[in-house]
Structures are given as structure tokens and as C-alpha cells.
């Protein structure tokens, strides 16, 4: 029998944005077993949210993750608003949708750059990130900061987009769309990219559902499921259809995310044209009543689940956050055994790991 070696993948690895350790047992270049080890980024945010008063938790929840921070803040506000329950004004719903889609665009561009870097295609990595800078400039102009935007409050949003900023946004988004489309065409048709990603890390439809995958990871295996179909915020009024691929390998996941980035730009342009006038904030009455509420949102990486329970005071009784990568990691334990050792970074990157989200 060939000798078996145990190698640590992580916690520091060029492919990983955040630390996670996978102890890989391999035998002659084929992976045999995987044991994960988490806990490098645990900060106890769920406990801290019970100690603070409820308006201060927005800033805590945004710092769960740096890349998906806009949508964490918006989801927290939405779940606390459902405790009363109260409605926000329509213009606030459209503004939240625009900022969510902007956040999704920059997150997918980041992931496409990381994929190109993992394959060794460094010039494409730099081109994707150069285009991403334009989207981050838009976020800084409208929200105030590139990361941790803090633009949503319980009851609405803090800032408005006036006409001058709207013209700049629409012009920049149209330029970004042309450049992203050209780059995505190169990535999708390059023969070396295809040779390293087609047929690697395959998950069938039944396996994907049983393993609890969500988001683009699930849609690449042929399951038509997207939380935006629930119609929250302004998605019910925009024409929206989920993007599905059927192959279930790393190439299909890359195509789903690339097409979602283009779809996000189209949704923003549509929301800009349909946005109604009106106020942007409604003051909530009193403290959150003794009630419980659940909210699911489609972040860039998948489906995030927020649960809140109030008890009549200004502190929340319980806040639970289940982030998409928390449910996507067990699928690694099924995909990695049987694959080649050189494919391990590509497979780990294809679930879009956000470990600081996982460990909160």
C-alpha cells in the first residue's frame, strides 16, 4: 500500500481570503480524507448583540464580514423591523436594493479575480480588481465608505442619492458592464481555464440538496432556488430570474457568478429608472415588542438566515445569524476525497469561502 501523508491546507494560504485549516490526508497525489479545523476568527458577535441596545447592533453586524458587510447591515434592519412589524417607505426599499446589488457586483468581481489568481492568470486578476475599484468608488460616493457602509437604520436609510450622483452612477455602471463582459468572455473561452476547471469537484443535484448548499454553489448544480424569489425589498417589482447551470463543476460555478455580476448591474440600472420619490426614514415607535421574526436574504455568497427575538426592552433577547459559508463547508468533506492534490485550491475557492462570516 502506498504511504499516506497528512498536509495542512491553511490556515494561511494564498488562495484563502480568511484563515481555515483543512488537514488533508493524501496517497500518491489523490486526496483520501479531509478534517476541518475552524475557530481562527471567532469573536462572539451573537453574545455582544444581546448586551448592546438594538440600534448599536447594526455596526456590530456589519463587521461580521468585510466583503458582504452592506447586506449584513440591511438584513439586521429588516429582521428587527419584522418584530413590530413595520414597513419602510418605498424609496428606502429601492435604495436598499441598489446598494445590495452594488455590493453583490463588487463581491463577485473580487471572487473572479481570486479565481484567476488561483489558476495563475495574474494579469486577469489585476484587471478584475481594477474594474472593481470603480464600483467601490461609487459606494464611497453614495454611502460614505468603501467597506462597512453603515447606511441602513431600523426604519429606513440614512442617506439619499440625488440627481447628480445618480447620473454619475449610471454612467459608471454602463462602463463597468462593458469591461466586465469583455473579461468574462475571455475567462469563459480560454482553453487553459477550461482544462483546470471542467469536471473538477462535481456535485450532482441530489447531493447538493442533501448537503445543504445554497447560493451560486447550489444553482450551479441545476437547482433553481434564490431567496430573491421571495420578493422582499424591491425585487418583486423588478424583473428577476435566477441563473442556473446544470454541470455542477467548478466551471459551472464560475459561470453562474460571472453572469450574476452582469445581472446585478442590469438590476441596478433598472432600479435607478423605476425609483419613486418620497421620504427615506420612518421612526419606529417604542422598543421592539416580545415577538420573534425570521428573515432570509440572498447575499453574494448564498442565503443568509437571520432570527431575532425581542422582549419589550431596548435590548434584543436573541439574535442568530447563519451565514452561507457555514452551510457550504460540509460539501467540501464530500468533494475533496477522490480529487487530485493540485485541484484542492480550486475546489476550496469554488465554494466562495468567507470564514469570518462562518465564525462570527
Amino acid at each position: 500500500m502506498a504511504p499516506r501523508t497528512v498536509a495542512p491546507f491553511g490556515p494561511q494560504h494564498p488562495v484563502l481570503p480568511e484563515p481555515i485549516q483543512l488537514k488533508i490526508t493524501y496517497e500518491d497525489e489523490k486526496v483520501v480524507n479531509v478534517v476541518p479545523a475552524l475557530g481562527y476568527g471567532h469573536r462572539g458577535i451573537e453574545k455582544a448583540c444581546e448586551i448592546n441596545e438594538y440600534p448599536k447592533n447594526i455596526h456590530l453586524c456589519e463587521r461580521i464580514c468585510g466583503i458582504c458587510s452592506c447586506m449584513h447591515g440591511i438584513s439586521y434592519c429588516e429582521v428587527v423591523e419584522r418584530l413590530w412589524p413595520m414597513e419602510v417607505p418605498p424609496r428606502a426599499k429601492y435604495l436598499r436594493t441598489i446598494w445590495s446589488e452594488m455590493s453583490r457586483t463588487h463581491s463577485h468581481l473580487l471572487w473572479l479575480g481570486l479565481l484567476a489568481d488561483a489558476l495563475g492568470f495574474e494579469s486577469m486578476f489585476m484587471q478584475f480588481w481594477r474594474i472593481r475599484e470603480k464600483v467601490l468608488d461609487l459606494l464611497e460616493m453614495t454611502c460614505g465608505s468603501r467597506v462597512t457602509q453603515s447606511v441602513s437604520v431600523v426604519g429606513g436609510v440614512r442617506r439619499d442619492i440625488d440627481d447628480e450622483q445618480k447620473k454619475i452612477c449610471i454612467r459608471t455602471l454602463q462602463e463597468v458592464r462593458k469591461e466586465v463582459e469583455a473579461l468574462v468572455n475571455v475567462l469563459a473561452t480560454d482553453p487553459t481555464v477550461k482544462a483546470r476547471t471542467v469536471g473538477v469537484g462535481v456535485l450532482t443535484k441530489e447531493q447538493a440538496i442533501l448537503l445543504g448548499n445554497n447560493g451560486p454553489h447550489l444553482r450551479a448544480s441545476g437547482v433553481k432556488e434564490d431567496c430573491r424569489m421571495l420578493g422582499m425589498q424591491a425585487y418583486g417589482e423588478l424583473g428577476f430570474e435566477p441563473i442556473v447551470e446544470t454541470d455542477g463543476d467548478c466551471y459551472a460555478r464560475a459561470l453562474v457568478r460571472a453572469r450574476e455580476a452582469l445581472q446585478a448591474i442590469d438590476l441596478q440600472l433598472e432600479a435607478f429608472s423605476k425609483m419613486p420619490e418620497g421620504e427615506i426614514f420612518v421612526r419606529p415607535k417604542g422598543s421592539p415588542p416580545a415577538n420573534e421574526a425570521v428573515y432570509r436574504c440572498e447575499q453574494a455568497r448564498g442565503e443568509v438566515f437571520y432570527y431575532a427575538k425581542g422582549n419589550g426592552t431596548r435590548n434584543l433577547e436573541r439574535l442568530r445569524v447563519r451565514t452561507p459559508t457555514f452551510a457550504n463547508i460540509p460539501s467540501l468533506l464530500v468533494m475533496l476525497p477522490g480529487s487530485e492534490l493540485a485541484d484542492v485550491p480550486i475546489i476550496v475557492l469554488s465554494i466562495d469561502p468567507c470564514i469570518s462570516c462562518t465564525e462570527r
Partner: protein
């Protein structure tokens, strides 16, 4: 309020979860809450493809043992380990048992989410 909530006991848990596995539902998450003298554990499932979500809720004492559903749904192993670490809920026969060291370290506070272990202190200290 939570829609589609069904109350069960810990003895019927595995049968109910098997029904969801036969209907090809996707496991979403578990939520554990401290009610003072007992723990409230809720399991959420989603009928795939689609967005209908269903919840199962059970109440257990702080010293009781709960069967693990990671034999049916492997993905529940991370949620159950987290409930064991943070609340002290004993779960039998988990597929991968981290022994209370998944998110917490050896010097961390024990069972931090239970109500009387309040952290206290001002922010920024």
C-alpha cells in the same frame, strides 16, 4: 411570528427529520435559545427547489441528551457542535465531534451564550 411552526419532542425528532429527507428538503439551520430553566431548539428546513420554509421546535432540559441528525443530514454537524459549545446541549453520536473546541479555545469561557454568563464591560475596553 414564525409561519409553519410544528412542535415536537426529542423522541420523535429522527422520524420527522427522515420525512423531510424523503421529501428532498434542504436543511437550513438550527437555532438554540435559553429560556432560563430549559433550552428551546428549532430546526428549519426548506423544500427545494423553491423558497417554502418549515420549522420544528422542541423544548429540552439543560441536562437532557438529544439525538443527532447528522446521520441523515451531514451538514448539521457544524450547527450541532456549535450548540454543544455555546449552550451545553448534549448531542449524541455526531458524525464529526470537535469536543467543544470548534469555535472556542482551551482558555475561552465555558458555555458563553447561557444567560447568567453575561460578559459585561463597556465597548472598547
Amino acid at each position: 411570528m414564525i409561519e409553519n411552526l410544528k412542535e415536537i419532542s426529542k423522541d420523535t425528532l429522527l422520524q420527522e427529520v427522515q420525512k423531510f429527507a424523503d421529501a428532498k428538503a434542504r436543511f437550513v439551520t438550527t437555532v438554540c435559545s435559553d429560556l432560563g430553566d430549559k433550552l428551546e431548539v428549532t430546526y428549519y428546513f426548506n423544500y427545494s427547489p423553491g423558497v417554502d420554509m418549515v420549522a420544528l421546535r422542541m423544548f429540552v432540559g439543560k441536562d437532557e441528551e438529544v439525538p443527532s441528525i447528522s446521520g441523515i443530514y451531514l451538514t448539521a454537524v457544524l450547527s450541532e457542535n456549535e450548540m454543544f459549545e455555546q449552550y451545553g446541549l448534549k448531542v449524541k453520536d455526531m458524525a464529526i465531534d470537535f469536543g467543544g473546541l470548534m469555535l472556542l479555545g482551551k482558555d475561552s469561557p465555558v458555555k458563553p451564550m447561557v444567560k447568567d454568563n453575561a460578559a459585561g464591560g463597556k465597548g472598547g475596553e
